[in-house]
Amino acid sequence: MDKTMNEKIDKSRFEWVGANVNESEAITRPTTSYWKDAMQRLSKNKAAMISLWVIILILLLAIFVPMLSPYTMSEQHYAHTSQSVGFRDPDDGHLHLFGTDKLGRDIFTRIWSGARISLIISFTAVFVNVIIGIIYGGISGYLGGAVDNIMMRIIEIINGIPYLIIVILLMMVLEPGIVTMIIAYAAVGWTGMARLVRGQIMSLKQQDFVVAAKVMGARPSRIIFKHLIPNTLSVVIVNITLAIPGAIFTEAFLSYIGLGVQIPIASWGTLANDGSKVFQMYPSQLIIPAICISLTMLSFNLLGDGLRDSLDPKLRR
C-alpha cells in the first residue's frame, strides 16, 4: 500500500501550456527537392562517395597526364626498355612512374592515354545505348498492344543471341577502330535499357498527370518526351552508371583478344594484352592496366549501387 502511494507523482508538477498555433504550423526543416534529398542520402554512403572521387581522379588523370607528361605515348627510349616501376632516367632525370615497356615507352603516359580511349569508347557507347533504349522503350511502352508486342519480340530475339558474338561479328565486318567499337557495342547493348524504360512507362502512363495531359490535347510525342521520360530519369541514371563497367569490360575483352582498337592507338585492353605477353618476366606491365580496369569498374559499380539506394529508397536493402 505504502509503496504505491510513493510512486504516484504529484500533479502540481504538471502545467498546461496551451496550444501554440504558430509553432505547430511552422516548418522546422528547409524544404528539399527529390534530387537534393537523394544527393543527401548518397553523400552518407561512404563507399559510393569514395568511388565518386576515384572516378573523378581517373577522369582528371586521363585528361591531364597525356597533356602534361614529358613523354608522348609512342616515344621510345631504346636504352631503357622494360624498366621497373619508379625508374628514373639517369640521362635527363625524368621519372618513369610505372616503368617502361619492352619498346622503352613510358607506361604511365600510355596508361592514361589508354584511359582516354577506353573511357571515350565506353561513355559514348553507353550514351548511344541510352538514347536508343529510351526512344525504343518509350514508344513501345506508351503505345502498348500489338506494336509493343512486336517490339518486345524483336528484343527477345536479339537477346537470344549472345551479345559478344554479335559484337565480334560486327568488329570483323567493319574496320577495326574506335568508331566501330562504339557501333558494335551500341548495336546490341540497348535492349536492357529499352526494357527498363518500357516497364517504367507502362506503370507511369496509368497515372493521373498523363490523363490530364491527354485531356488537354497533348500529342503522344509530347506526353512521351515531356511527361513520361523525365520521370524515368532516376532509373536511367542508375542504369547508366551500372552499364559503364560492362562497356569498359567489353572494350578490354575485345582488345585483349586482338579485335579492339589497333596500333598505334592503345587502350587499357591492348595494354593488358601487351602486358600479358611479358607477364612472367615483368608482372607489373599487366598488373597496372588490370588494376586500372578493375578499379574503374569497381568504382562505377559501387557508385551505381549507392545511386540506386539513394534515388529509390524503397529498393533499399
Binding site: I166, M172, I257, Q280, I287
Partner: protein
C-alpha cells in the same frame, strides 16, 4: 503448358534462323578474301576454288544452301585446316564444355551459398564480406583473374615452395583444371550471389516466413525448407545468360591456360579470316546457347507454377 512450350520453341527457332541469316551476310560483308595468301593465285585455280566452296552461285542460292546444310549438321569445310568444321568442333568442344560446366556448377553452388549467408546474416560483417567479394567479382575481368592466379599460384607458389601444386598451363590433371575453372566462374559467382541475396531478403520479409516462425519452426528449417526454395527461382532464370557469358569468357581463359578448346579455335579463326570456321562456330555457339536458354525457360515453367498462370492469361 503445351502453349508455353510451343511458344518457347517457336522463339528459339526464330532466334536460330535470325542468327543463321545474320552470320551468312556478315561473312559475305567481311573485307579480305580467304584465298589471298603470300602467293598470287592463277585465274583458273581461283575459279576452281570458288566453285569448290560454292562462291560462284547467286547470293540467294548460297543462303538457302547454307541454311539447309546447317540444319543437316554440315557447317562446311574449314578453309585453314581443310577439315570439316563439325570435326573440329567435335574435337574441341568437349574441353570447352567441361571447363564451362565446372565453372557453372562451382559458380552456382558457391554463389547461392554466399547469397544465403549474406541475406541471413544481413548487416553483419559476413554480409559485407560476401558482398565485397561479389562486387569485386563483377568488377574484375576474367582475364585479369586468370593471369593473376596463374602467376601467383602457378609460378610464385612453385618458386617459393618448390612443390608444383598447380601447373601453369594445360588441361589434363585435376590440379590443372582448378585455376581455369575458378577464373572463369568468378564473375558468374558474383552475379549469382548478389541476385541470391536480394531474392532471399525479399522472401525472408514475406508473411509465410513469419507464419513459419510463429509455428515454432527452427531457423534451419525456415531457411532451407521455406526461404531458399522460393528464393532460388530468379537464380534459375539467369542461368541461361550466365551460361552464355561463361562460354564466351572461355575464349580468353582458354588462351591464357593453353586449353585446346573452342575458344582458342575461335580467336585463331578470326585472325586467319577462316570464314567457314567463324560462321560455323558462331552458329554452333548460338544454337547451343539458344537451347540452353530454352531448357532453362522450360525448367522454370515446370518448377514455378506461377509462370504457367501468367502465360495462360495472355
Amino acid at each position: 503448358m503445351i502453349k508455353y512450350v510451343g511458344k518457347r520453341l517457336f522463339y528459339a527457332l526464330l532466334t536460330v534462323l535470325t542468327l543463321t541469316v545474320l552470320t551468312f551476310f556478315m561473312m559475305r560483308a567481311l573485307p579480305g578474301d580467304p584465298f589471298i595468301g603470300a602467293k598470287a593465285i592463277p585465274e583458273a585455280t581461283m575459279e576452281a576454288l570458288n566453285r569448290k566452296y560454292g562462291l560462284d552461285k547467286p547470293v540467294s542460292e548460297q543462303l538457302i544452301m547454307y541454311i539447309s546444310n546447317a540444319f543437316k549438321g554440315d557447317l562446311g569445310i574449314s578453309i585453314k585446316y581443310n577439315r570439316p568444321v563439325t570435326d573440329i568442333i567435335a574435337q574441341a568442344f568437349p574441353y570447352s564444355f567441361e571447363l564451362g560446366m565446372r565453372s557453372l556448377i562451382f559458380a552456382t553452388i558457391v554463389g547461392v551459398l554466399l547469397g544465403i549467408i549474406a541475406a541471413v546474416k544481413r548487416g553483419t560483417k559476413w554480409d559485407s564480406l560476401a558482398m565485397f567479394f561479389a562486387i569485386v567479382g563483377v568488377s574484375v575481368p576474367s582475364f585479369v583473374i586468370g593471369s593473376l592466379l596463374q602467376y601467383l599460384l602457378g609460378l610464385k607458389l612453385y618458386q617459393a615452395t618448390g612443390i608444383k601444386f598447380f601447373p601453369i598451363t594445360g588441361w589434363d590433371s585435376m590440379s590443372s583444371k582448378l585455376i581455369p575453372s575458378f577464373a572463369l566462374s568468378f564473375s558468374s559467382l558474383a552475379t549469382i550471389s548478389r541476385l541470391m541475396r536480394t531474392s532471399m531478403l525479399d522472401v525472408l520479409g514475406q508473411d509465410y516466413i513469419k507464419t513459419a516462425k510463429s509455428k515454432g519452426l527452427s531457423q534451419k528449417k525456415i531457411i532451407w525448407k521455406h526461404a531458399v526454395r522460393n528464393a532460388i527461382m530468379p537464380v534459375i532464370t539467369v542461368l541461361g545468360p550466365i551460361a552464355a557469358s561463361v562460354l564466351t569468357g572461355a575464349f580468353v581463359v582458354e588462351n591464357i591456360f593453353s586449353i585446346p578448346g573452342m575458344g582458342k579455335f575461335f580467336v585463331m579463326s578470326i585472325q586467319d579470316q577462316d570464314y567457314t570456321m567463324i560462321s560455323g562456330i558462331t552458329l554452333f555457339y548460338g544454337i547451343f546457347l539458344v537451347l540452353a536458354n530454352l531448357l532453362v525457360d522450360l525448367a522454370y515453367g515446370f518448377i514455378d507454377p506461377r509462370v504457367k498462370l501468367t502465360e495462360g492469361k495472355e
